[in-house]
Amino acid sequence: MKITRAEVEHVSRLARLALSEAELDSLTDEMDAILDYVEQLKTLDTEGIVPTAHAVPMENAFRPDEIRPGFTPEQALSNAPDRADSAFRVPRIIE
């Protein structure tokens, strides 16, 4: 086994993703099969190979630090599930 059910449960907490018992079972099997498949990468010697994060060679893209129009508070809040005045309201964080 490449991954255990307990590890899948741990990853679900890292991903902030609640999973049902049935999902934990099926994901353990599916992730195990996928991780077994990607194992083939280990057969390649990549000693000294520079990792590619970006396929097109680029320098940093700088721009002038200028004030430009952005969203109004109403626009920014237009899809808010819950709001209070000009703020997003969330469940209580501090008891």
Binding site: I3, E7, V8, V11, S12, R13, L14, A15, R16, L17, A18, L19, E23, L27, E30, M31, A33, I34, L35, Y37, V38, Q40, L41, K42, L44, T46, I49, V50, P51, T52, A53, H54, A55, V56, M58, A61, R63, F71, Q75, A76, S78, N79, A80, P81, D82, F88, V90, P91, R92, I93
Partner: protein, 485 residues
């Protein structure tokens, strides 16, 4: 000929000489969508009211001679592009009620040209899938055979163009999501070079691989639409500031001196016999047209799918962290506290494939596994990219199949994620290498399902791809076939 059978270039001519008005064209398409969409399910949102208003504005512009290449042409866009005032769902429950407050740059560009946005298209949720079955709005059906998938993730985009529900469409391609459905639906689809088209306002899946591109009925239309969307955008720092050539001017039909490479690693076991025959026939056509065809090697091809499913899922797990039920999107209302609200909202909002990829990506990035999975995959990506750069020292373009098989049946691969992933084996490498590629019709299987031909070009040389694809189209009739629908 009915209005909806005309190509983009043909409609342009009829709008310019006032034989047709933009409102007439838009109404013809809205009727066509109403008649065909219950069977195809390519649209998530049909923009009936706004489309007519946009068509009226286009007619006013045409009346005073303010004509751009796209004025008055009804274009549909994948529901991954932010469109101000319209719903943008990404085919997910989590964005089911999301109304974009702004336009993606590609949307602004086609709006500036007074194109008519006729609707938002179905897709695999968050562009994750190869069959368009992973949609909260139901699967898309292939217009060539309604029991088969249209491909994915831009399945709605390809099916809509094949079913004549829009004259052209925009899609996105992260691992083949434009080319594979284009192949399965017998339309033309291009993934431009990474950085050629702005990604600003496009809902992110895997940011180092995502690219926007056109899906059209022929290569000339592809060149026209690419022209409208290509170019540097200050709002996307990964878009590249390099000149955009006149693509239509490049469609000369002349292939003298062109060197085409056949990567031997692409013609292997698992390649369907009908697909192999069609691609071999296309190769012969290219020889007849005067191109020189040689064998080349892309030695790390076999590792591309594994490499992709680590890099793409890692980037996805990071990108999709933003769906937390705080600022927009679905929020679960039964949460006990803030963390529980995140966990329940995401559980209720995401579908099975999205959860699978978030989990895989989170695992690949997690402490203790980063080097073994994510960093290793990035190093293998370097090798895959180098394969292409080496091959392009010898040839101008590569010729390959798009998908190992014609469109599979709905449901066939739904319960086997790995088999589904392997259907992208020929398209993924171009995304990893960051280069451009196009899919165009090159035949049909024994049971009348479309087969596509892929041409992969040098970075930023979309022009050679279009010229090479156009010459094939001039010599063949495949692109003229339409589904009996």
């Amino acid at each position: 000929m009915t209005i909806y059978d005309l190509t983009l270039a043909e409609l342009r001519a009829r709008l310019d000489n006032r034989e047709l008005s933009a409102v007439e064209v838009t109404n013809a398409y809205l009727s066509r969508i109403a008649a065909t969409n219950p069977a195809v399910n390519a649209f998530i949102t049909v923009c009936s009211d706004t489309a007519i208003a946009e068509a009226q504005a286009a007619d006013q512009a045409l009346a005073i001679g303010e004509v751009t290449p796209l004025t008055g042409l009804p274009i549909a866009v994948k529901d991954i592009f932010n469109t101000a005032g319209l719903r943008t769902t990404c085919a997910s429950r989590i964005l089911g009620n999301y109304i974009s407050p702004y336009d993606a740059t590609v949307i602004s560009r086609i709006k500036e040209q007074k194109a008519v946005i006729i609707g938002k298209l179905n897709m695999d949720e968050f562009a994750m899938g190869s069959s368009n079955e992973n949609s909260a709005f139901g699967a898309v059906h292939n217009p060539w055979n309604l029991k088969h998938v249209p491909g994915g993730s831009s399945g709605g985009s390809a099916a809509c163009v094949a079913a004549r529900q829009a004259v052209a469409a925009l899609g996105t391609d992260t691992g083949g999501s434009i080319r594979q459905p284009a192949s399965h639906c017998s339309v033309v689809g291009m993934k431009p070079t990474y950085g050629r088209v702005s990604r600003y306002g496009v809902v992110a899946y895997a940011s180092s691989l995502d690219q926007v591109g056109p899906i059209t009925r022929n290569v000339r239309d592809c060149a026209l639409l690419l022209q409208a969307i290509a170019g540097h955008d200050p709002a996307d720092s990964t878009s590249v500031n390099t000149p955009v050539p006149d693509y239509q001017a490049g469609l000369t039909g002349d292939l003298k001196g062109l060197r085409i490479g056949l990567p031997q690693e692409y013609f292997i076991e698992g390649l369907d016999n009908d697909v192999r025959k069609a691609v071999e026939q296309a190769t012969a056509t290219y020889r007849d047209l005067g191109a020189e065809v040689v064998e080349v090697s892309l030695p790390h091809t076999a590792y591309a799918v594994a490499c992709y499913y680590l890099i793409a899922t890692a980037e996805a797990s990071s990108n999709l962290a933003r769906y937390d039920g705080v600022r927009y999107g679905l929020r679960a209302d039964n949460a006990e506290n803030l963390i529980d609200m995140y966990m329940q909202s995401r559980a209720a909002g995401f579908g099975a494939e999205v959860k699978r990829r978030i989990m895989l990506g989170t695992y690949a990035l997690s402490s203790g596994y980063y080097d073994a999975y994510y960093l290793k995959a990035q190093k293998v990506r370097t090798l895959i990219r180098q394969d292409f750069l080496d091959a392009f020292e010898k040839v101008d373009t590569l010729l390959t199949p798009v998908a190992p098989t014609p469109a599979f049946a709905l449901g066939e691969k739904l319960n086997d994620p790995l088999q589904m992933y392997l259907s992208d084996i020929y398209t993924i490498p171009a995304n990893l290498a960051g280069t451009c590629a196009i899919s165009l019709p090159c035949g049909f299987s024994a049971n009348n399902l479309p087969i596509g031909l892929q041409l992969i070009g040098k970075p930023f040389d979309e022009m050679t791809l279009l010229r090479t694809a156009h010459a094939f189209e001039q010599a063949t009739e495949w692109h003229k076939r339409k589904p009996d629908f």
